[in-house]
């Protein structure tokens, strides 16, 4: 896998994360959305650790 592929994945992961955060923000009175999105965000974090962390220049 090339660095370009990893960067592409990284970009999509960031978009996914933004979407998940948006959904989290919309779920104050909706436990079924809130608790599921929390789980999804934990999974996204794992993809982040496996991809974005490798290219991040902190």
């Amino acid at each position: 896998m090339s660095e370009t592929d990893l960067t592409k994945i990284g970009e999509k992961v960031l978009r996914l994360k933004e979407t998940a955060k948006d959904l989290d923000g919309l779920s104050n009175d909706f436990p079924a959305v809130r608790r599921n999105i929390q789980r999804i965000m934990a999974s996204i974090k794992m993809i982040e650790i496996n991809t974005l962390d490798l290219i991040a220049d902190e």
């Binding site: 965000m41 974090k45 902190e58």
Partner: protein, 444 residues
Amino acid sequence: MIQNQRYWNPVLETLPREDLRALQLRKFKRIFEWAYENSRFHRSLYDAAGIKPEDIRSFEDIHAVPKVEKSMMRDIQRKDPFPYGDALCVPLEEVTEFRQTSGTTGQPVYQPDTWQDWEWWAECWSFILWAQGYRSTDRVFIPFGYNVFVAFWAGHYGAEKLGCEVVPGGVLDTKARILKIQELQATAMMATPTYVLGMADTARNKMGIDPTTLSINKITCAGEPGAGIPSTKKRIEDAWGAKVFDHAGATEIGAWSFECADQPHGMHVNEGFFLVEIEDLETGKIIEEPGKRGKMIITALDRQAQPCVRFDSKDIIEWDADPCSCGRTFRLIKGGVVGRSDDITKVKGVLLAPSAIEEVVRSIDGLGDEFEVVVDKVGDVDRIALKVELMPGAENRKNDIEGRLVDQLRIKTNLRYNLSFHDYETLPRYEVKAKRFNDLRKVH
């Protein structure tokens, strides 16, 4: 096809060493800052040492960060936020998982995890299982008590993440578990080496089932060093007709190491997720070169609820000089975890690691899997006794077996033992962590 991909993470597991080290440094800074900002315990520890997050710029700076001992965790727990105390880095309501250590070395330590931490546990196990050849076609049987000890809980979730079909062998007894493996044609299993050997013994001698005729083709062992001890590994592989893989992890740390399918007589450290330092037992200096044993100091680079930063694991390890044929750039520790600094003891002035006795006993044909060591003192003189079992049918070879045992023990441990031979199945059997080494000098 993804099933043929050798690595769970093909980028991380083959990252050039210098990139991997740079990643570890970046991630250490991040977790250090997290602990400093969110844990009163860690902040006071680091403030006392005069170290702030911005001071971490190199590995030398990391080596200067104070270590955390298990006893320190015991001291801060059972207080608010109850029961975890000052090391908790998240609001209590974000904790979704409770586990605790086994308490073999004192009062158990509680371990909180958030759901993200739990995903991380499963992720660590995914590296392990993928490297050992587990795939979605596997039916994995887990003969484990599913209780407050983490043991194979995360192995269960890791196997699910890979897409395996997981069979929880929870409250069944050993015979029922063997029958369930047979009934479902399970292909893989996770358990302690002691229990895996015990299962084989039960199947063969109490049920008339040859374990090699069952469908288990790989076994992941953890909880004890057995699968890293060549003679024990061979016994398990012969008994089950399966490949046996070693893994080491801990409640407070995570699943930090694994033997890959190439079986390099050692374990890879998952260096993308953990930073392992080896400390010289005498000088306290960090050992970078291979071939020199020391104590493992470990950092979990992504764990949040109760961070693990420079934790003094007391595990004895050494770096392997050679890279693994599997192509991973994650370093190998030679022979796995070879002991614990609090297990290594002096008998008659000689340093003794109990695993050396296990290696000898299990290498001799005609001896059973179980044994027991008792060390005591008469006056000022240490005595060491070894009890072993003769396998049925080996009685007429006793003199030969005894001669080999004495010779091998002298070569491998430099000690003479008071040996006693016992009938098969008369020494204690263990289901989880075995206690075969009894040092009575510490009792009196």
